[in-house]
């Protein structure tokens, strides 16, 4: 189960960031500008996702049936997780002619994702870097919630306690934002960007506060009391989500 959840997080919380990366990072935007290709990542007897690159954009689909130009197959969740740790390659089932693309261009794009999400010690963390890092970190966390609700044993006990509604995470004054919609029946879906009429909001006063939280250096209780983190609306959605988010480091570093 741990491998299964990890693999879903790798695909649906980490890899999904390719959807937003080009809008944040000019290097990634340049890389994909003329791509016209769709990639399916499927794990045997489990989950699958599609990345559809066209017109300089990347669209992510979860569990889509659409046919794709390349199918990458993983024999098990562990196999997929190993690829994310650079220790294994997928088995291409379709799109052999695209192997060169995968090895070179696609790898470069994944490299950009890693550059921002798992920065090497020597990476210069300037303002531009921090902005992208924050957006991707926020997305990863929010995208992870629905997956944790399905497979993490603690989050599964929390899941039935969510009433229907939406929870938006925002960094003032200019974003990033991400949100999650709960259906009130133990399920949720997450999205980048702001929600329409969110039922609850967690708002970080500025990016420094949000970055400190991501870095694990913020006392979040003090931050709530000083309004550095503002909570609004149906606070139980926030409370439950926070407990679930505390589970994330068990699966993703």
């Amino acid at each position: 189960m741990i491998d299964q959840l990890k693999s879903r997080l790798n695909l649906k919380a980490v890899l999904r960031n390719l959807e937003v990366l080009p809008a944040l990072d000019p290097v990634s935007a340049e890389l994909i500008s003329d791509w016209n290709i769709s990639l399916r990542f499927s794990v045997w007897r489990d989950t699958q996702v599609v990345l559809d690159f066209h017109d300089g954009r990347c669209v992510f689909h979860s569990d889509s049936k659409e046919s794709t130009s390349v199918n990458l197959f993983f024999s098990s969740p562990a196999h997929l997780n190993n690829m994310f740790e650079n220790q294994a390659s997928p088995l291409p089932l379709k799109g052999f002619t695209k192997l060169g693309f995968l090895k070179k261009e696609f790898s470069q794009l994944i490299g950009r994702l890693e550059y921002f999400l798992k920065p090497a010690a020597e990476t210069v963390q300037d303002e531009a870097f921090k902005k992208v890092n924050l957006a991707l970190s926020l997305n990863t966390a929010v995208f992870a919630i629905p997956e944790l609700m399905k497979l993490d044993p603690v989050s599964r006990r929390i899941a039935p306690q969510f009433s229907a509604g939406s929870l938006q995470f925002s960094v003032d004054p200019d974003g990033p934002h991400a949100h999650i919609i709960f259906d009130g029946q133990s399920r949720a879906v997450a999205f980048p960007g702001p929600a329409v009429n969110p039922t609850a909001m967690t708002v970080f006063k500025n990016s420094e506060v949000a970055q400190a939280l991501v870095a694990g250096t913020l006392d979040s209780f003090a931050a709530v009391a000083t309004a550095d983190i503002q909570l609004r609306g149906m606070i139980p959605l926030i409370d439950h989500s926070n407990v679930i988010l505390d589970r994330l480091p068990l699966y993703l570093q």
Binding site: P153, V154, S155, R156, R157, I158, Q161, G165, N197, P198, T199, A200, M201, D219, F221, A222, V224, A225, T226, A227, Q230, L231, R232, G233, M234, I235, P236, D239, H240, V243, D246
Partner: protein
């Protein structure tokens, strides 16, 4: 109208958070105060229906210490009884006669009570009630209500939350309030294992409208549980002595087997009580449950004074009258500003919510605007009236509320 600032509260919070987990934790935690800037965190002074925060801001207090204050802070007769008792004995090596007097008093005043057992906090006696029910029935499982609060012991907490484990909830079924079919289903499937049904006399969850018992609900619960050989426990920790001096069940016309009281019982002095019927007395005697401070005698003396005064003055009737004035006034005021105020629960401890916004953000903003003008309102929890509130206080509160409506209208539009 003066808009309050909380600089000293913030300073104290900064000191607190260095040495206390969370700074201010539990039900006083700033987390549900949205916007948090509208609320004070620390106070050094309280009198009657008011408290003053460390910045010197004065509040008409509609949370009443979350229930314990019922006659007004520093009620002279209660304080005199308390002082008199502690001047002769408080902590001691053997029990106090005041404890016996209080048990006699409760057995006299509360129809269900043939015995009384004392502790300090609400959860001490909700736990005791469950242990007694288990001892009496030889069964494990408890039925409670979704969203019902009985304290913070692991089994009472929301599953999955920090510090709890999956097994904590193995013997608990949570069913929706007022849902007899759900009760029937549990009884049909697990009847022979059910020790007790426990609920508050009316449903007072947080972040949600409160709900009174449907006609006949409680009597049917009692009948079904008794037919099943199970025990009925009313958790009257929050509502106790605000609806009826004989227990809130008397207000609704039914008789459970045990009732848990705390909060208002001693006007702010630490005390809780479990009362029950004769049938359960031997089982209650067999259960071992105690605490270092459970015999401190000052609280017994304070409770005797508090309950005598509440009874003599018909406190529940006064709090109902004041609650009706307050909630009726706020409802009319909301409507004059183009809003709809939904009032639920009981007038003596009402829950209010502006219907024009499902997210509660409007309600939160309005409660915040009231608070920073001197009427302390929370947006997530029912409020409390006390006998110390006056009609003048309510008049002043309505003026504050009026200003607050104007302020939120500016912020949200109508």
């Amino acid at each position: 109208m003066n808009i309050y600032q909380y600089d000293k509260s913030k300073e104290w919070f900064q000191r607190a958070v260095k040495v206390i987990p969370c700074g201010v934790y539990g039900h006083f935690s700033p987390a549900p105060y949205a916007p948090v800037e509208a609320y004070p965190f620390f106070s050094d002074k309280a009198e009657g229906a008011r408290f003053w925060d460390v910045d010197g801001n004065e509040f008409i207090d509609y949370m009443c210490a979350y229930g314990p204050m019922v006659l007004g802070y520093h009620h002279p007769e209660v304080e005199a009884a308390f002082q008199k008792q502690i001047s002769i004995s408080d902590a001691n090596t053997v029990a106090s006669p005041r404890m016996v007097e209080l048990a006699e008093f409760l057995c006299e005043m509360i129809p269900v009570a043939d015995w009384a057992f004392f502790a300090r906090n609400g959860a001490d006696v909700t736990n005791m009630a469950v242990m007694v029910a288990r001892a009496a029935t030889g069964r494990d499982k408890i039925i409670a209500i979704k969203g019902g609060y009985h304290g913070t012991s692991p089994w009472m907490q929301a599953p999955g939350h920090h510090g709890t484990i999956a097994d904590d909830h193995d013997h608990l079924f949570r069913i929706p309030w007022n849902d007899l079919e759900a009760l029937d289903r549990i009884l049909a499937e697990h009847g022979s294992q059910i020790a007790a049904f426990m609920a508050s006399p009316f449903h007072h969850p947080i972040f949600e409208d409160n709900a009174l018992p449907a006609d006949g609900y409680w009597q049917q619960v009692v009948d079904k549980m008794h037919e099943n050989g199970s025990v009925v426990i009313v958790d009257d920790v929050r509502a106790g002595f605000r609806l009826h001096m004989g227990g809130s069940n008397e207000h609704y016309g039914f008789k459970p087997d045990m009732i848990a009281f705390s909060k208002a019982i001693a006007n702010g002095h630490a005390l809780s009580a479990l009362v029950g019927t004769d049938d359960l007395k031997v089982d209650a005697a067999k259960v071992f449950h105690t605490g270092s401070f459970w015999y401190c005698a000052g609280s017994f003396a304070a409770a005797l004074a508090c309950l005598n005064i509440l009874k003599a003055e018909d406190g529940p009737a006064r709090m109902r009258m004041l609650g009706e004035k307050l909630t009726g006034g706020l409802r009319d005021l909301a409507s004059s500003h183009g809003y709809t105020m939904i009032v639920s629960g009981e007038p003596a401890l009402p829950y209010l919510r502006l219907a024009d916004d499902e997210t509660l953000m409007l309600q939160q903003a309005w409660c915040g605007e009231c608070t920073r003008r001197g009427a302390f309102f929370t947006s997530h929890h029912n409020w409390f009236l006390s006998t110390a509130h006056t009609e003048d206080d309510i008049e002043k509160t309505l003026q504050i509320a009026d200003e607050a409506f104007k302020a939120v209208k500016k912020q949200f539009g109508s």
